[in-house]
Symmetry: D2
């Protein structure tokens, strides 16, 4: 049975794998100082319309988050995140391990707004409290929601007015930028944030995140190395991002994942099951009766339990990816209908 | 022209790459909780004759060093290393960034002995000083030297007598275990250390280090995650180590690297150039007149400058790998002879 | 006009100062290894009925909190606190600066209960999340409330059942133990917590906190020194705590502070002003109309603004101490009546 | 018998204690925001001819070192110290606990020079190594030696030419500035360093170090608070430094300590015992035959053993202070002559 557990259950898209095979025995320098990384970085700068941006390639999301945030924060400075934010919940205190507090804001849909952030910022005014300095957001969020250009612009303006930096976790950026609710491009993200990353791990790469940094940080590679984040064969990251981005494969793959998620959503809704938090991307959160959940598990389907809604119902998470076959979705819907 | 700069200039051995391709679309759980990692770990435990050992797969050497050492050390405890140790010189303070001091010992050949370590241990006796707790060694060392079983046994006994732990950095463990000066097996290492790792990055893998830990550390995966070292598609590490270790490929590749290094060494020595620090492994450190070094560089050869010996001579580092063709070595020797 | 801003606006009780003067030119060893500290520690162990407890003297509260918590926590472990907890709000991320997350629980009155803590503990189950390990409470709390023996016993039992440690911040322990709502002794605290401290700074000493630690921690002085918390002339702390504790002065002073706080409370209440959060100790939180607050400030009274209740009313904090003269309270009440 | 163990064996100079008593019941704000600290800071700025300098009062030396260095260093930056430097040897890794490496230089007399520092600076050039950023020196050094204006000027110029900051640990600054070998004033130190401190603990105060910072650091109080170094009754520090500095008491006390040290030195030398490392300040390091050392100890004299010189001789450390009576020195010399 198919696993809808996450979007990193498989390896890489075949074209990515082929690119690795094609270059396998070429000798290059290590640590990302090779022609493939140079080309991929140039391509990304071009897609971002950000000729001055720094582009760095890292292996994973938690690693990227902790290195970026530590590079943007002084010892006594803190990062603001939604209470559901990945750095707050699912990174084993990685940010705190670099010495920084994560200040949290309750968010109804995983997104931050100036209105949500402002009381926290205003409430931190003396040397007895940390100084909030970076706003951390994710696009898509942990609940699948997506920022609009108006929303991100509002946050940017708030940050500018309050001496804050804005960092966007793009582990699922493909799904965000190809969502029907999205109206932004890579160039918009580059202009509106101080740093963001293009997640490869969850969208066709074997692994890898491409960081685009417009905030000044001349020694970012020192920060990376200090955290074990300079990858010996850095070229592997350059090769993969080049393959994903040079002709739009990255966006095609994300569109596929989203489309199948919507097919799932519509099919499940047609069976009468509710989606209390609507998601316009590749994570869907239906609420099912517990016996239905159990029957799906017994059939062998895999997915995450998000939370218990009430004694009789459970919200589950279904994730599609670039690799999800249409047939798997149809079979799931058929099986669900039979539950 | 060939690059002898290091042993991670290429991708992976073709059989490793093939294993990744063969499994590419199989769905598994993430984070190393997949059948490939389980099999690779079982294989490693078996090769190590250590049925109780923890086996974890990490992406790179600096990452492994910092996670392992932080997991073995309390806040006020320190690690002892040779002054040439990788953690002391070439990791941008990664260990200190986790809060721990690296106490250094001058070592003539990159190796540590009880005699070298003892004055430092004896000299740290009060709460005004850090408490040395782990001895960090590398095999091969940064200068290519190799530990014998007698040497490692002596260190182990010293550690036991002084309440110390012993951690062996095996980034180049393949070269060490196939060196003519080696008389140890994986099982010996497992028995004589508290933790060591089998380096994949420098010996045939795309990337990856397999950590074998006999020291008790029930929450090691928490330590990993906190440092961004839990790899989303952990399976990629399991698949690679299985391919490298299931029929001895790992050792064949290292033997090849060493053999070509010895051919280089013997050929260079035959031309009359000295090797002040003899190396029984895949890094060789000849001393050449500066004009010869320049001519080799002009021809396009790549290698590291180790240090200036005197105003007219330079010690260079030549590294061979599993991927070095015999012909590249012969050409280099011919070109050197013509300098 | 009198300042009710806090309970550390003056120096030390005259008997404490006299004890410092009497011993001023006696030579002793530094770092708390002197006879005065030895005597004071013995006295405290005796008062705590804890002959095996470690007693350490530190200079201030934030320092004590950060050293104790780092000594009790592994890298990936976290501390649980009320959202109002001092370590969460008013220590500039001191705990996070030692690498540990502070997990917060919304508390209606500043106190923690098993019921409040349990969902957080249950919700942290995998290596992707920090591992909560210590419960941090304050007595009195930041809002002046006080734990009963039943409440602390319930927390202790919860901690035991869940592998947690319990640490009590006693910066205002004098006010707590002499509160009419208190039914505990130092011996109870010693038995029911793993560590707690007897706050001197806010109750008669020039400065100083006496830590009582029953949790095993053989190298606690290493932790102290590493954080700059081993006081060169440690004897000053021993001398002060001896003077405060040898004949009950500490408790007499706290009783005085509480009594004057209750006189303030009763007098203010008699004027018709409400106390939404009742406090049985030396911090009182009346709600006053804004013009009244302004008039008091204009007269020269000093106090903290706690928070705005509504556009027309403000909750202020009034703190009394061992040094508050009865007359200052009466004058304040008279002046308030005239507002 | 007298203790020559250190210069913090007693309490405070009587005039300092009197100043504390005189102000004891005056109410002030906490945390160093009181009139006494304001006056003391103004006085120090005036003595330093540095009207723009920040002045902060901290409790002890290790605390000051760790807060200052963390405030001056980014994550990946390191501090350079003599191998004998206090931060390298005697602070239990306090600097590393804030994440920074201490890079050491072998120094024959505890002092640093551009010539000693330069190879280390030149050798740290890539992102694989920490970036040295601050030079840490002590005046007097750990071996009692003293910087001249020419020496400090040379270091300053070297730092300027290499993008480095210069921090001077003045735990024994009184002894340095009143040494016959000194030719500097507080104003010179202020002009030639980026930060230095005037040590009170070892020269007449109960405790306290006054930091003078000319490097820009707008949020230094945040750094202090985060490390538990904002002292609740900060006024105690202001009161003490005002008493010590307003009419030169600080320098008188140090002159006394030095004079008695020189009397000790000359008397011991007259008995034929050598001083391999000459010291122009209040720490003296004679080499005595082991039986003589034992006899002194048996008589009850206290002092530190510095190191064993050979199987028959020991270098001891004798420290005098503001409180050392002349008679104690004469008795010691008489007793030594009788050994």
């Amino acid at each position: 049975m198919y696993s809808f557990r996450n979007d990193y259950s498989e390896g890489a898209h075949p074209r990515v794998l082929q690119a690795l095979a094609d270059t396998n025995l070429v000798q290059t320098r290590g640590y990302g100082l090779d022609p493939y990384c140079t080309e991929a970085a140039a391509l990304i700068r071009s897609l971002c319309a950000a000729p001055e941006a720094q582009v760095h390639f890292l292996v994973g999301g938690t690693q990227t988050n902790l290195v970026v945030l530590d590079s943007l924060l002084c010892s006594y400075e803190a990062v603001i995140a939604a209470h559901t934010g990945h750095i707050n919940v699912h990174e084993t205190g990685a940010i705190e391990a670099t010495g920084h507090k994560v200040c949290t804001v309750l968010s109804p849909d995983g997104k931050l707004t100036p209105e949500l952030v402002d009381p926290l910022v205003k409430g931190h005014s003396t040397e007895h409290m940390v100084l909030p300095r970076v706003v951390y957001i994710s696009d898509t969020t942990e609940t699948g929601t997506v920022y609009t250009k108006a929303e991100l612009t509002a946050l940017r303006e708030y940050c500018d007015a309050n001496g804050l930096l804005l960092f966007l976790d793009g582990a699922r950026l493909g799904a965000a930028l190809t969502s029907p609710e999205n109206d932004m491009t890579l160039a918009d993200l580059s202009r509106l944030t101080d740093a963001f990353y293009i997640g490869g791990t969850k969208n066709g790469a074997l692994f890898g995140e491409a960081l685009v940094m417009t905030a000044p940080c001349p020694h970012f590679r020192w920060h990376m190395k200090q955290r074990g984040a300079v990858f010996a064969k850095g070229r592997l990251l350059g090769i993969q991002f080049k393959a994903l981005l040079e002709d739009g494969l990255y966006f095609d793959l994300a569109r596929h994942a989203n489309a199948l998620a919507f097919r799932l959503r519509d099919g499940i809704a047609a069976l009468g099951y509710p989606f209390p938090v609507p998601s316009p991307s590749n994570q869907q959160f239906p609420v099912l009766p517990n016996p239905v959940v159990s029957r799906l598990q017994e059939m062998g389907y895999e997915f995450e339990i998000d939370h218990a809604v009430d004694p009789g119902h459970t919200c589950i998470r279904l994730v599609t990816s670039w690799a999800t076959p249409e047939q798997a979705v149809e079979e799931f819907l058929r099986d669900l209908a039979g539950c």
